[in-house]
């Protein structure tokens, strides 16, 4: 069968998002990435900017600490008094499950592999690349200032790894968690996308 959902986890700057778009295009699948944040925000009533800031700059532990210290106003606890990041995760999880039910799609990030772990029709992919290549891509394609770019890339990866460990309880980037992992620098984003689409078609 062809995999119904393809989840792509990716190191920052590895081109995973672009690869996801190419795969979706090749297979004629839906594609979901930051739009999830917007959907989550609309459902929760959170301000989109607030969520974006939370996702990019704050680790779950940090929010937990804030919560533990009583810094949150009631407006931040939207779900049974859970910390904001946990509530956000629960909302994103619901949306991801709805999207997967709705039709074939590619979902980038958001621990989608873990959230959809009970489905047997998900192909889970991890995209990585050597640090130097990712820094170069972040500067060239994402407009990151050259000075301090390496630190930003490394920090973003640390946040992603912590986020995955916290919610999925597993090590981010461990081969056994994924059906396929690929170094995008070794083949280029187009070849990787073709390879993932091919793998999706061979999925058992």
């Amino acid at each position: 069968m062809t995999a119904h959902v393809i989840t792509i986890s990716r190191e920052y700057g590895s081109g995973g998002r672009t690869i996801g778009e190419l795969v979706a295009k090749e297979l004629g699948y839906g594609f979901y990435d930051k739009v999830l944040i917007d959907l989550a925000a609309k459902k929760s009533g959170f301000a989109i900017d607030y969520i974006k800031n939370t996702e990019e700059q704050v680790t779950p532990n940090f929010l937990f600490n804030l919560a533990a210290n009583g810094y949150y106003a009631n407006t931040v606890f939207v779900n049974d008094g859970l910390p904001a990041s946990d509530s956000l995760f629960i909302m994103q999880s619901k949306i991801i499950r709805e999207l997967a039910d709705k039709g074939p799609c590619v979902i980038v990030g958001r621990c989608a592999d873990y959230i959809l772990r009970e489905r047997t029709d998900c192909l889970n992919v991890f995209v990585h690349a050597p640090l130097a290549d990712r820094v170069a891509r972040a500067v060239k394609d994402y407009g990151l200032p050259e000075s301090g770019a390496e630190k930003t890339v490394e920090r973003n990866d640390k946040i992603r790894a912590k986020h995955y460990q916290y919610y999925a309880g597993a090590k981010w980037g461990e081969a056994r968690h994924y059906h396929l992992t690929v170094n995008s620098s070794a083949f280029g984003v187009e070849a990787v996308a073709r390879s993932i689409a091919g793998a999706a078609r061979s999925f058992m």
Copy 2:
């Protein structure tokens, strides 16, 4: 360019060896696996059976301990007084480098990815599969007795992981160490072999 050498590391029972043979066949490459042991043995003068037993049942640390305790006779220290497993590794390394120089090939196991790390024309692959599938394959294809098969599979993986950690100084099965990792159960050995051959042709 097409990758000149393809190294395949694999969990025990994942079908990695069969996949390697299929890749070599598809690309018209040489294929090397246990034959390396024989070559190593011939070069070193070790008895083939002794090396096979060492590789399959003993971890480097065990041999190290034996060496530290003076259990080795002179015949076992074949290279500058190193423990037998280290001497064997050095011999295998030499042979692997010679094979890679000789012509395009697929090499299964033996830390070949690490040994050939300075070449830029090596595609490094890791093949894994869920434990239950690997146990089933080990029983069906390798003739392992059903009783105790799971323990044997797990023990063989532990030995491989220790061996890799000891010689390559890195974690076996970490996605970032390989250009490609793949769950053979998700696609089947034929599809995985096609996918690896395709990746070899797209190697940059």
